[in-house]
Amino acid sequence: MNFEILDSLFEPIVIVNKDNEIVYYNHMFSTFTKSSPRIIKNKKYLREIIATSFLSDMVELIFKTESATISKEELIDSLPDQEIHVIIKGAFLSEQSLVMISFNDITIEKNLYQKYRYQIDELKEIHHQIVQADKLSTIGEITASISHEISNPLTIASGTLELIKALFESDDLNSQKELLDSCLNDVIESFMRINNIIKGMKKFLHGNEDKKEYVAIEEIIENSTRLVNSQLKKSQVNLSVKNNTESNESIIYVNSLKMEQLFINLIKNSIDSINSTNGESDKSIQITLNETAMCYEILISDTGAGIPKEIQDKIFESFFTTKEVGEGTGLGLAIATKIIESYQGTLELLSPIAPTTFKITIPKMSTLSIASSTLNRDNDQEMNLNILVIDDEVKILNLFNESISSNNINVICASNPTEALNLIDDGRFNIIFIDYSMPEMNGDELAKKVRKLNYKGPIIYLTGKATDSKIKNDISSGLFNDHLLKPFNKEDITSIVKKWELGVK
């Protein structure tokens, strides 16, 4: 072989014999190692030029195994004044009984990756700070009315405590026992109300914003309206929620705090808009929850002043506000858009005039959990277990997700049978967990449909109700393979997954 042809390549290449002696090197090897021909000539062995054990070990291994090619990413720090990240490839030249080694310098790529990752982290931090500033501003604005909200139960509690004191001073305490109980309950209830208000505020400000969970839209709306309740009362705005979905729980996979922030921002805007009209007529906000096959749609309508045509294009931009200085940050809708887009949803202005209507669209849970699990997947690691969980209880779905979701276990959840059946189309699931009792159809009916789709893997019932004989019958008929008795915990889930991860034997 004429090795001189290697000189025309831009990749450093060196050829060594069994004793690690350099037999040939191309021009780029000299540049790469910053070693002139004079230096290389004086040093007989490759290990004297690049003093790293992995290279010698690799050469040794290739000679030992006579394997065609070995490729490895390594850091070379033994060259003068430089640290180089390289992908080293070694090939055995059987005819000459030599090893050819090439070096692909990826230092720049590595450095750029580190640099841009650092910059992205910085941007993320800034974004987090902006979101936090918006929250603080929101809390600041509603604090005045919240203090009013707190003062009511506080008045009740202190008044009732006065009464309790008077009762204690009376001669016949025993005859007043019933009244005393009722008073104590009133005090406890008042403090609970105060506690709930403060807990809601604390959670809104300091909750974990990274954690995604299965949560019902109805619960998010309830929590959001609770936080702005005092403002609604103060402005005498009537807020009503209309649910046009089939179930009572429209479950999505999101961070509930971020979604609450989105709703609070929109409701606050509606209140401000209604207040700006100064009218005494209808003051109302209507939240309507609809569903399509793929998405949930939430309409937020108000009887406020509407949005003038000239600013309709600008309202979603950061720092755009029509409010007085100090009253708004101009970030509300920009942040709301960012939040909903991070869940592949949209926020749009449906009607700029009364009733002013914003529409939030968010994909249904199964779509979101697939997208999220795909994005989180580690590229280097092959996903090897796909698990489908069908249950209409949010807590169960979250328990599964937290217990077994990992780099190589992908948990996809569905809250109803229709959603689940849409997912079982390509045979990708290794294990399917089915809740035995669901409103739409029972677990055994769903299992039959799943089997009809030619799914041959294990199906496991989640049940607290099915009788022993029913379970026995369904297992012997091959409809399902096992069951997990409710209530269960993380360990129960892990061990049953372990039991069935290799499929049905």
Partner: protein, 155 residues
């Protein structure tokens, strides 16, 4: 610590501007100082360039697109610059030429590598010129066929 590129004007005449480049040419380098003072002839002094990576070469090639109407002369090109020019075509266009550059020579007496400034005209038939210093003939300390390859690039 990043050694950000700084460009200073060292000579400004009616038809000629000379720039001195200091620091490293990388993905963050911009050359507005040069493009905003375009003259018929531009001399670029690389004497204080400490590093040029492949991203810097890409930026430089993009920059050359904007100065096609001027005659560009590179001078005092350090070894790092020459090595990149040899690796990436596009650094030398029909309107560019290298006036002078540094080349490594080995002194046995001091057992040290000395960077000697050479004029392109001194390279004949791809051979390194004879250099003497303190009564010692220095030995060219690179591969001639590779190091002087840039002189064959005509853009």
């Amino acid at each position: 610590m990043s050694d950000k590129l700084v460009i200073n004007i060292t000579k400004n005449e009616s038809e000629l501007t000379e720039f001195l480049l200091q620091g490293q040419i990388d993905e963050d380098s911009t050359f507005e100082e040069i493009t905003s003072s375009l003259k018929k002839k531009i001399i670029i002094d690389f004497n204080e360039v400490t590093l040029i990576n492949s991203c810097g070469v890409r930026e430089w090639i993009n920059f050359l697109e904007n100065v096609k109407d001027s005659t560009i002369i590179y001078k005092n090109c350090p070894q790092v610059v020459i090595e990149q020019i040899n690796m990436v075509h596009g650094f030398i266009l029909p309107n560019t030429s290298i006036e002078s550059f540094y080349a490594p020579y080995y002194s046995e007496k001091s057992d040290d590598v000395i960077k000697v400034l050479l004029l392109s005209d001194q390279i004949i038939d791809g051979k390194a010129p004879r250099i003497e210093q303190d009564d010692e003939e220095l030995e060219f300390d690179a591969i001639e066929a590779q190091y002087f390859q840039f002189l064959k690039q005509k853009g």
